[in-house]
Amino acid sequence: MEETPKDKSVEENHDNNKNGEADKTKATSRRNFMKNIGLIGAGAVTGAAALYSGHIFEAKKEKSGQSRILLTQDNKLVEVDSLEMKYLEKSPSEQMLEQGREGIPGRRWVMVIDLARCRNARRCVSACQEAHQLRPEQYHLNTLQMQDSPKTAPYNMPKQCQHCDNPPCVAVCPVDATYKRQDGIVLIDNKRCIGCRFCIAACPYSARIFNWFEPRDAEKYKDQPYNVELNVPQKKGTVSKCLFSADHLREGKLPYCVSACPNGVYYFGDENEDAVTNGTTKETVQLSKLLRENGAYQLMPELGTKPRVYYLPPKNRLFPFEPAKDEQPEKV
């Protein structure tokens, strides 16, 4: 239907251009012209038909659908016909990235480490390396042999990301790849990280590591969707660190290291609930009481980083201190 006037107008234009020529010539030229634009004409017919049927389809939708009122991302209410609603499919990795940025509402995760109970079993370390697909020399969590001054007693100290409330690493990140969540956890999005390592330089706790080579089992896990709350699969050329096992917390489980400890070193819980659970005994205690009665302290609070990890001093130790054996190779 629509193509006819279009062709006519083209012809008219054509006629105008040929003004003053004889009728016969005019007719011949019109035939030639029609021949020449035959293809274009056919195209126009098809196009118009498609447009028209589309129009009919739209009209049908308007008639039969029921409308719904929805809230848009910029806080506006919109009325949308239910037939016009298109459900957006997100890839598992995208979904995890989104919820990984949000955090778990209402929670303020906190860890307490009882140094008196640590005998450097390093089960926490291996559980962590297993969960996060780390090489043997890569630590989200490392147990250090500490001695504060020559006369004081040496002790073992598990050390991981302190999930600071004023995190220097997050401040310096140029691309928002590392961020602080509402539940207190500092995470890294390795799909965003550019590998500048400014965060490694800024962290006073040496808590961050880098994937200098292809990660362990890179080939094996290459089709696994990226889980930002577990930071696996690890990615070459990006930073990684302790995540407080954010994936386990979402499932209501304790972090990997906390459950793996055979000696009851770790307590983990929610500051808002004022309760922490011991990973070994599964005993839940009052956080404020535990901190108050045991002289809890934080690592280098003078730097103003406000860590979310508390340490209980190594008093009345359960195990004697034994110097650790180093099983690392010379060079990696």
Binding site: L144, V175, A177, S206, A324, D326, K331, V332
Partner: protein
């Protein structure tokens, strides 16, 4: 005017006769390109295998690349000292040196950005800095100011050269035919009209003023990449001026070396005279003394208090593993040059150039000392890791990749100085009082 014409012709000849493809140039460029190819292969290895091909690991995670980056930003700063500071206060003797300083500024600031990309774990995500950039991060500040400084330096190199290009195109008899169209296009139809000169004059003045804050910013912000952290050795409030003054030392030395090269190879003895070397030598002493002052502040004050982390760091520098490099750099690259340059004889072209070579080598290693030892002494002990995590040793591949940046700088400097007049023609004519019809 006629009797003066040969003088101007001689001037144009002197300042443009080096513009041709000589055998020496061809050999030099071939060497540079071959060396570049070899070194780019090293970078390919890094792309393929990961940043681990370099010696950097989790504790010393910023290594030679970062030290080199700081050195490059530092060397580029000289454009500002010569053109803007000395130019704006009306120093006449800098006329033949300004363009040399700008060439060095352009080459080093252009490649500084590249050096940082070579240090990135995922260089293909460079665009994220613009796409997701957070302005709270000093890296964003650095990207902004270095880009600005590069553009300003380039304009300051190019705009004053517009009349020279037009004159060379018109009068230089030795100019090779193939380069003439380039000169014609880039001379922007400049014909010595008063309004054209006015535009150039005013733009250059505005650029010179803008260059001051931009240049101060680039190296201050670069110093903040370190000073915003709480690490011993970086946690310093004098890092900004300490870096800026150090930059002038490195840059002055670079300019002196370039001057010596041009003086001999482009036969410019009448233009880059003993007086210029003498003055640059004095300038080098001045900036070195300022740098020495900041060094004393930087090491003496924490050394007096010896806070725990500072004490470990300083002990390593003064008497430990880093002491050989530290004292060699401080004495050989700073104290001895200052002492020698106090004597007039030492400010003659050859000695001052040799001293400058020592200074610039010292300047590179000084950046190494600023960047690396601090990371070898974090607050918490480094345990249960391979030995090469504890002590940083640069690898051959890493050195090759670092060489890429030097080769590229040399290529840029060579191209700019070989195919364009190194010494301003018009300004020199004005300076020497050579009357002519071509420019005023």
């Amino acid at each position: 005017m006629d009797e003066n014409k040969p003088a101007f012709e001689k001037l144009t000849y002197d300042l443009t006769h080096h513009i041709r493809v000589s055998k020496g140039f061809a050999a030099w460029m071939t060497f540079l390109v071959l060396a570049l190819a070899v070194c780019l292969f090293a970078y390919y290895q890094q792309l393929k295998t990961g940043l681990g091909v370099a010696g950097i690991r989790d504790y010393v995670s910023w290594g030679m690349y970062l030290a080199n980056f700081v050195f490059f930003v530092a060397s580029s700063l000289i454009g500002m000292l010569i053109s803007a500071v000395l130019g704006l206060i009306g120093m006449k003797w800098i006329t033949p040196i300004t363009r040399i300083a700008e060439i060095i500024a352009i080459a080093f600031s252009a490649i500084a950005g590249l050096v940082i990309v070579m240090d990135m774990g995922r260089p293909e995500r460079l665009g994220y800095v613009f796409l997701y950039g957070r302005f709270q991060s000093p890296i964003l500040w650095d990207v902004t100011v270095i880009t600005t400084y590069f553009v300003l330096s380039f304009l300051l190199y190019y705009l004053p050269m517009v009349p020279d290009l037009a004159i060379s195109h018109k009068t230089a008899t030795t100019l090779p035919g193939w380069i003439k169209p380039v000169y014609r296009i880039f001379s922007l139809n400049w014909t010595n009209k008063p309004e054209q000169n006015e535009v150039i004059h005013r733009s250059v003045r505005i650029l010179l003023i803008l260059l001051l804050p931009a240049a101060l910013s680039i190296h201050t912000v670069t110093s903040w990449l370190f000073a915003v952290t709480s690490r011993a050795g970086w946690d310093s409030t004098v890092f900004g001026p300490y870096f800026v003054s150090g930059a002038f030392v490195a840059g002055s030395a670079a300019v002196i070396i370039a001057m010596f090269f041009y003086r001999n190879n482009y036969k410019l003895k009448d233009y880059l005279t003993n007086m210029h070397f003498n003055n640059m030598g004095k300038l080098l002493v001045l900036v070195s003394l300022v740098y020495l002052y900041f060094n004393i502040n930087e090491f003496l004050v924490p050394g007096y208090k010896l806070k725990r982390a500072d004490a470990i760091h300083l002990h390593d520098l003064f008497a430990g593993a880093g002491s050989l490099m530290f004292w060699t750099v401080q004495i050989g690259g700073l104290l001895i040059p200052i002492f020698l340059l106090l004597f007039r004889k030492m400010r003659k072209p050859l000695p001052v150039t040799l001293i400058s070579v020592a200074v610039i080598i010292g300047a590179w290693f000084k950046r190494y000392i600023i960047v690396i030892p601090t990371q070898e002494h974090p607050f918490l002990p480094i345990q249960h890791v391979p030995l090469n995590f504890k002590v940083y040793t640069p690898t051959l591949i890493e050195t090759g990749i670092t060489m890429v940046s030097f080769i590229l700088v040399l290529i840029i400097i060579t191209m700019l100085s070989k195919f364009f007049p190194v010494i301003p023609i018009c300004e020199t004519a004005k300076e020497k009082g050579i009357e002519n019809i071509h420019c005023d």
